[in-house]
Assembly symmetry: C2
C-alpha cells in the first residue's frame, strides 16, 4: 500500500510553502489533502476484505446494484449510472460478472440495442453470503463516530458533493 507514515509530512510542506509564498488558505488545503490522503486507504481497506472472495470493490457494487433490482436485472447502462462509471467500464464489469457465473447476458426483447444482465442463483448466493461480512466492515470503520458526528459528516459531505456538481 502507501508507504507514507502520516499526514504530518504534507502538513509541514504546506507550512513551508506558506513561509516562502504567503497567502495559503490553510484549512481549505488541509481539508482537500485529507480527502486525498484518506481515499486510497479507504479503497484498500474495503478491497482487502473482498479480494479474499475473488472480487473487487467495483464488481461488488455491481452485484449489489443487480441484487437491489426487483427482477435482479439491469442493463449495462444502468450499471454505469449507478456505479458512476463509464459505459465502457460497465461492459468490463459485465464481462467479469458473466465470466464468474454471477450474471448472465441476454438480448433485450423490447429494445434490441440493449443487453439484459441477470443475476444468477450463484450470484445471489454470493451477495447474501458476503453482505453480513461487508456490513461488519462498514460498522467497524465508523465505530469511533457517534450519531451526531455521523449526522454532521453526512450533511457536510452532501454539501461538498453539491458544490462539485454531484
Amino acid at each position: 500500500m502507501s508507504p507514507n507514515k502520516s499526514f504530518s509530512q504534507l502538513e509541514q510542506a504546506i507550512n513551508r510553502v506558506e513561509a516562502r509564498f504567503p497567502g495559503t488558505p490553510r484549512q481549505e488545503v488541509i481539508l482537500t489533502r485529507l480527502l486525498f490522503h484518506i481515499m486510497p486507504r479507504l479503497s484498500t481497506h474495503l478491497c482487502d476484505n473482498l479480494k479474499q472472495h475473488g472480487l473487487n470493490e467495483t464488481v461488488w457494487m455491481a452485484l449489489l446494484a443487480l441484487y437491489a433490482c426487483p427482477n435482479q436485472t439491469l442493463n449495462p447502462s444502468d450499471i454505469s449510472e449507478t456505479l458512476d462509471s463509464s459505459r465502457t467500464n460497465a461492459t468490463r464489469i459485465a464481462d467479469e460478472l458473466v465470466k464468474n457465473g454471477w450474471a448472465a447476458r441476454s438480448a433485450s426483447a423490447e429494445d434490441r440495442r440493449k443487453i439484459v444482465l441477470e443475476l444468477t442463483p450463484s450470484g445471489v448466493a454470493l451477495v447474501e453470503s458476503l453482505l453480513p461480512f461487508s456490513r461488519e466492515v462498514h460498522k467497524q470503520l465508523w465505530a469511533d463516530f457517534d450519531d451526531d458526528e455521523k449526522q454532521i459528516l453526512e450533511r457536510l459531505m452532501r454539501k461538498l458533493l453539491r458544490q462539485l456538481g454531484g
Copy 2:
C-alpha cells in the same frame, strides 16, 4: 467525466437491498459511498484547473513539495513519501519534471545510491505563477462552509484517517 446525475440512484439501491436483506448499517454505508462519489469529482475539479498549464495534480504536488524545501531539492524517495505514492511513481514524476525543465537530476555526493532533484528557475517561476490560481480554486471549493463546519470536518477526517492507519 462521470455520467451520473446524482447520488440518489445509489441511495435507492441501498434502500432496496435493505428491503430484500435487512440489516444495513445505513448511515455508515452512505458515508462511505459519499466519499467514493465525491473523490472522482474532486480530482477532476482540481485537475481541470491545472491541465490548462500542462500539468496534473501529482506533478503539481511534486513541484510544491520541492518548492517547500529549504534548498528546493528532494530525493525521489522524499517525493514518494510526501506524495504518499510508490517509489516507482516517484521515478515517473521525476522523469516528467526533468522532461519539462522544471527540475534537474544530479547524483548525490554524500550517498551514491541517491539522486538529487532540484527545482530549476523555470520550475520556481511556474509554481509562483500558479499558486494564486490554485489557492483561489481551494477557497471557492470550500466557500459554502463556515469556520465551525471546516473545523469539525477537519477533526472528523483526521479521525477517519487515524482509523485507516494513516
